[in-house]
Symmetry: C2
Subunit: 324 residues, 2 copies
């Protein structure tokens, strides 16, 4: 591989597609976004992506020769051997041959993975994972996603559902219903949506709390409101943060008793709460993890933000090209 | 590798060392046991093993030329790169250079892994794992052990504590104390020891139960007694089996939400209970696993019994030799 050429990293989301030209050292040279066109079962997405690459190259005065290959992430389970997306509900794709289609229109080698997995690879390569071969990344956003790396490889599992950390059952009986069809998933507790739900369910019992007043004034509550109130020592907010931390610490400890990670990285919007969340999560983790597992694991907050996916995608296509 | 030569599989336990000469197809040609000499921090174990190999060869009229290499399992966490045993409490070993020492005395290539991991590899190769690349094996014996295979490789983790399924926290608050120093581990619930403890703790509240009568007559209870009584529809025994199954099903579901296995294999003495345990475990698993994970996972009972470790050890040294 020529040293000055670029890898293309792409991260398809339900509303925007993040794209970047990235060096082989993992530095982003150019990044931009296009809108995700989900009309007609997302059939235009591939052409939009190919066109976006072409026009960016033209804009930069470069040609396709400058590109080595494309790594691309989609929000759904992936069959790695074939680059097939089993299903991406947000895009309208089902049994979609993403790799082959994008290779055909772009003329470049393509590798496909799940978006949460690519975010984990990105953090492993250039972020908080710090090049460790054993990393758990949990992304606390609207939902809870995850990616698990062992022996330096993503765990895809038998049908692409590896790393579904958000669907660990945290509340086996009487938990809130989850989009996946189960009840009591970690996502119902530790996502931004879940945090707000818990606050709203209980706030009327805490009329003296800061959160009660915030709700009265602004007419709504956000996850950030909960953490802000906890930072001001509001007892009700602290109680919610304790519940979240208990379940997150327990779920991560139990998963780690299986995979014994060196790094556990919290990402996503909720992770911006910082130490007010990280410290109690660590405390519960230490209590529930096998002592040797606890000793081996270091916690941190993700550092790449929204760039994690495109950077992980670039890493994956580089790995793929190196194999050849 | 010559086709008629043998691999040596060795499985060191606290009381006996299992040894076997195994073909490259995974068939055991000769197997035998020697006593584990744990005196003097287990310093004679290596020499005992080397001597046992020599005398068996002599007995069979063979020479060391017949042997390709040794795979060996020890009861403790292992550093794979170096074949170091961090600690094997039952043997008295600490930071023990098992690979290098055994290579020196035997003159053969050696590869080392944890005993539970080798049992998992054995089941993957020749047993219930059925050559799948994504397997979880949980061994329900006096304790609860485990081995997890993803992408065809054992998960060792950062410090050799991968696959510690027995120390998943099943009862986060008020659980029984575990040998590992924590409370409420799966091992305290689903091991033979744990099953008996639960029965004894509750039996006095169930004077009409079959288990109460068994205890009166024989002065003790075993895990087998509990399953036998459950098979005769004894309500108290069924209740205990339900508790065990709930926790085992939940722990395996949550782990599987991370690793998305194709095969989940229950082994060890407790697994001989068969369907009376397997069926409710599956039922709870299906309830608690992410739907796609549930769809991908098939349960079975281990088929290799006590041979799993030596067979897995043979597989591992064969893999190692194939790399060269």
């Amino acid at each position: 591989m020529s040293n000055n050429k670029w890898l293309v990293g792409i991260d398809i989301g339900g509303t925007t597609i993040k794209m970047a030209f990235i060096t082989k050292s993992g530095d982003i040279e150019h990044k931009w976004e296009i809108t995700t066109n989900v009309e007609n079962q997302g059939e235009n997405i591939i052409l939009d992506i190919a066109e976006a690459i072409e026009s960016k190259l033209t804009e930069l005065g470069e040609t396709k020769d400058q590109l080595l290959g494309i790594g691309i992430g989609a929000p759904g389970p992936v069959q790695m051997d074939t680059g097939l997306i089993y299903e991406a509900v947000n895009l309208g794709w089902k049994d979609y041959h993403l790799r082959d289609k994008l290779q055909a229109v772009s003329g470049l080698p393509v590798v496909v993975d799940n978006d949460a997995n690519l975010a984990a690879l990105g953090e492993m390569w250039k972020g908080a994972g710090d090049k460790s071969k054993d990393v758990v990344v949990v992304t606390l956003g609207t939902g809870v996603g995850g990616g698990i790396i062992t022996n330096g490889q993503i765990i895809h599992g038998v049908n692409g559902a590896g790393g579904e950390i958000g669907h660990i059952t945290s509340i086996p009986e009487g938990g809130a219903s989850c989009n996946c069809g189960k009840n009591g998933c970690l996502e119902t507790v530790a996502s931004a949506t879940g945090i707000v739900r818990q606050a709203l369910e209980q706030v009327d019992n805490h009329p003296d709390s800061q959160l009660f007043r915030t709700l009265e004034v602004s007419g709504k509550l956000t996850a950030k409101d909960v953490f802000d109130a906890a930072k001001s020592d509001d007892p009700f907010a602290l109680q919610i943060v304790d519940q979240i931390s208990f379940h997150l610490g327990l779920a991560l400890a139990n998963l780690s008793n299986g995979v014994n990670p060196e790094k556990i990285v919290l990402g996503g919007g909720v992770s911006r709460a910082g130490d007010i969340l990280l410290n109690p999560v660590k405390e519960y983790f230490r209590r529930f993890a096998f002592p040797r597992v606890s000793k081996g694991a270091e916690f941190s907050i993700a550092t790449l933000g929204n760039d994690a996916g495109v950077i992980g995608a670039a890493w994956l296509i580089m790995e793929e090209l190196n194999k050849k």
